[in-house]
């Protein structure tokens, strides 16, 4: 099967300019060689902490920010080489939903126009637009009469439904969701997550679900990629990533995330990482994670581990955790 989306060695750096002449004094490495495939009808979760490059990844794929190098293929078509006309066509098949449902909807436009605008751009006639907007409103759990209202008349959850309707109106095959539920309360978040799953079942869309919340990602994803400082540290089937993490960063991230169950939360042994994520302007030598890694060795500072396949999961670590081995056990062994 051909992947819906192929990303190869994507690199995005932002120049740091200082002084009166705005000379470039360095670069922030937002994406440092990211590669993955997104299969048709699959949800790939992208998790990581702030500054890991997950948002830049979504935006670079759509060319909302231009990456510096790398390859992006949408159904085999090169997105990065497309001219503006071709790009418009490609973007029809690839839509994005943003985090903040308050900032991403124009407050002066009625909902009908917000949702119908992509259709108008792609030359669909007004009468037809109306009909399609009404259908999509029903699909996302709103009513056609809601279309005449303005964004401020809706709650956060409803606004996110409007955003979803706008993303779906062109019938895309790939949907990039950038923290779609992190601005919402849990009860509303659950509604939106269920809606997204329903849409995927019905429309067979490929989704890239970017989030910092591990339990949310676990709930929606088939496969999961864990990012740290612009690189994928581990990518594989959800069951393997959550059940038997091989990368020490994945293991520590899972260990840090609180579980809403007092018995398991209070009995489990945690690994608390020291320090903060290093600055992407000045990443560590060798492995990006080594400055916080509880099991780092000399080699980790000298040589950057490539992403390599071990038992079906790809891991960027010189000393990955083995089957049944916990990070805690390994850390106490090495210290």
């Amino acid at each position: 099967m051909e992947p819906a989306l192929q990303v190869e060695n994507l690199i995005a750096k932002y120049p740091i300019r200082t002084g009166f002449f705005r000379r470039t004094t360095g670069h922030v490495h937002a994406l440092n060689g990211v590669s993955f495939d997104l299969m048709p009808n699959e949800t790939l979760g992208i998790v990581g902490e702030s500054g890991c490059g997950k948002t830049t990844l979504g935006r670079s794929i759509l060319r909302l920010t231009e990456p510096n190098s790398g390859l992006v293929l949408l159904h085999g078509k090169n997105v990065r080489d497309a001219n503006s006309r071709e790009l418009r066509k490609l973007r029809k098949q690839m839509q994005i939903l943003f985090q903040d449902p308050y900032a991403s909807l124009n407050p002066r436009m009625p909902v009908n126009e917000i949702i119908g605008e992509p259709l108008a751009i792609h030359g669909v006639r007004r009468s037809e637009r109306r009909e399609q907007v009404a259908t999509i409103l029903r699909e996302v759990g709103l009513l056609p009469e809601h279309g005449n209202r303005y964004p401020h008349e809706f709650s956060g959850g409803q606004r996110q439904r409007i955003g979803i309707a706008r993303a779906l109106i062109l019938d895309p095959s790939v949907l990039i969701l950038d923290e779609p539920v992190s601005a919402l309360d849990v009860s509303i978040q659950a509604q939106i997550l269920n809606l997204l799953k329903k849409i995927q079942r019905q429309k067979k869309i490929s989704m890239m679900f970017i989030a910092h919340d591990l339990s949310v990602v676990r709930h929606v994803s088939d496969r999961v990629a864990v990012m740290y400082l612009g690189r994928i540290m581990e990518i594989g089937e959800r069951v393997q990533i959550y059940g038997q993490p091989k990368h020490p960063y994945t293991a520590s991230l899972l260990s840090a995330a609180p579980i809403a169950d007092p018995k398991s939360e209070r009995t489990r042994k945690r690994i608390i990482l020291q320090g903060d994520v290093p600055s992407p302007a000045n990443p560590p030598s060798g492995c990006e994670f080594r400055t916080r890694c509880p099991i780092a060795q000399v080699r980790c500072a000298e040589e950057r581990p490539p992403l390599r396949k071990i038992d079906g999961v790809s891991v960027a670590c010189h000393f990955p955790l083995r089957e049944g081995e916990s990070l805690l056990a390994r850390a106490s062994l090495s210290s």
Binding site: S155, V186, S187, I188, Q189, L254, P258, A260, D261, E265
Partner: protein, 326 residues
């Protein structure tokens, strides 16, 4: 056990252009010495307003009623001068966003020292050294040097540590933590909560933890109060709330969290609709329009808080019929 803080029938309302908003309605609770009491609820449930009312940090459009006895003094009726002596001294507070809570033009050390200077007869030099000690206590490495740095030179996690250092600089007996880790990444959140826990045991602090995150509550709270639409709907010990849930809203809230342990692929339980408008609240039970156990009586009658077992209260008309919700 004697209560450090005893809140009785606390109500807060705001005058707005479109009418009076009742943000907090007759909330009563008490916090004992050394415990962590969590106030949980979604946006607009009144948890933050309750905290701000206790600190008397609300603006003039707010009307506060009821009483809140803290170390023998009523925080609701205390004068502004009395409140100034309490804030930052006997009651410390930390907020969600440490960047806006710190002054960008003063060094972190000076800001912590100032809190000490305001409340104690002490030299500047001594206050500085208290500040460095406090920064040390909350695990800021190289505290002496870091004290001379400005907030922008601190990362999010370090800023929140600095906020904790400032809040505890005068050894308060109560710390109000309003969403202390919401702006932080999980690995940093784990660090900050660890610091908070260590500080709490070190100086015997009572913590009022205000949060929407039930995962955080599961790890750190001793007792929990669940709020909805300005009211307390259930309160009890940690295990009572999680494993002997009696209120339909609490249950629904617990069920809508995607589990890190349980099944994948199933739909999450959701609560239909959204919380009611505080301007025109429903006549009966506030949760009735979204509740799966709703009967006609819920729409017309207001439920009261009832005790179901020692220390466990719930607000539901059908409490005896529906029993423990799991």
């Amino acid at each position: 056990m004697n209560a450090l803080l005893d809140v009785q029938n606390l109500s807060v309302s705001f005058r707005t252009e479109s009418g009076t908003v009742h943000a907090v309605k007759e909330v009563s609770f008490s916090a004992s010495k050394g415990e962590t009491l969590a106030m949980v609820g979604e946006t607009g449930c009144g948890k933050s307003v309750t905290a701000l009312a206790l600190m008397r940090l609300l603006d003039r459009s707010a009307t506060i009623k009821g009483s809140a006895i803290f170390e023998g003094m009523d925080l609701v009726s205390a004068s502004e001068k009395e409140m100034r002596a309490i804030r930052g001294a006997k009651i410390g507070m930390i907020f969600q966003d440490p960047m806006t809570a710190l002054n960008p033009v003063f060094t972190v050390g000076d800001q912590i020292a100032e809190v000490v200077l305001v409340h104690r007869e002490i030299t500047k030099k001594a206050a500085r050294s208290v500040a460095v000690d406090m920064m040390d206590l909350v695990g800021i490495p190289d505290a002496r040097r870091r004290a001379t740095q400005y907030p922008h030179e601190f990362s999010g996690g370090m800023r929140q540590r600095a906020m904790i250092a400032m809040a505890i600089a005068n050894s308060p007996s109560l710390l109000i933590a309003d969403e202390p880790t919401t702006a932080l990444d999980v690995t940093v959140q784990a660090q900050v909560m660890e610091v908070l826990r260590n500080v709490q045991t070190a100086i015997g602090l009572t913590v009022l933890l205000i949060t929407h995150d039930l995962g955080l509550v599961a790890g750190y709270a001793d007792r929990i109060q669940v709020m909805y639409a300005g009211q307390l709907v259930e309160s009890g010990e940690l295990n009572q709330i999680f494993y002997e849930t009696r209120n339909p809203y609490t249950r629904a809230l617990l069920d809508s969290i995607p589990s890190q342990l349980g099944d994948h692929g199933q739909d999450l339980h959701t609560i239909g609709g959204s919380p009611p408008s505080l301007l025109s609240p429903p006549r009966g039970c506030q949760f009735a329009p979204r509740c799966r156990y709703v009967v006609n009586q819920c729409i017309t009658d207001k439920p009261t808080l009832e005790s179901v077992s020692p220390g466990h209260l719930t607000r539901c008309l059908r409490v005896s019929e529906i029993g423990v919700l799991s």
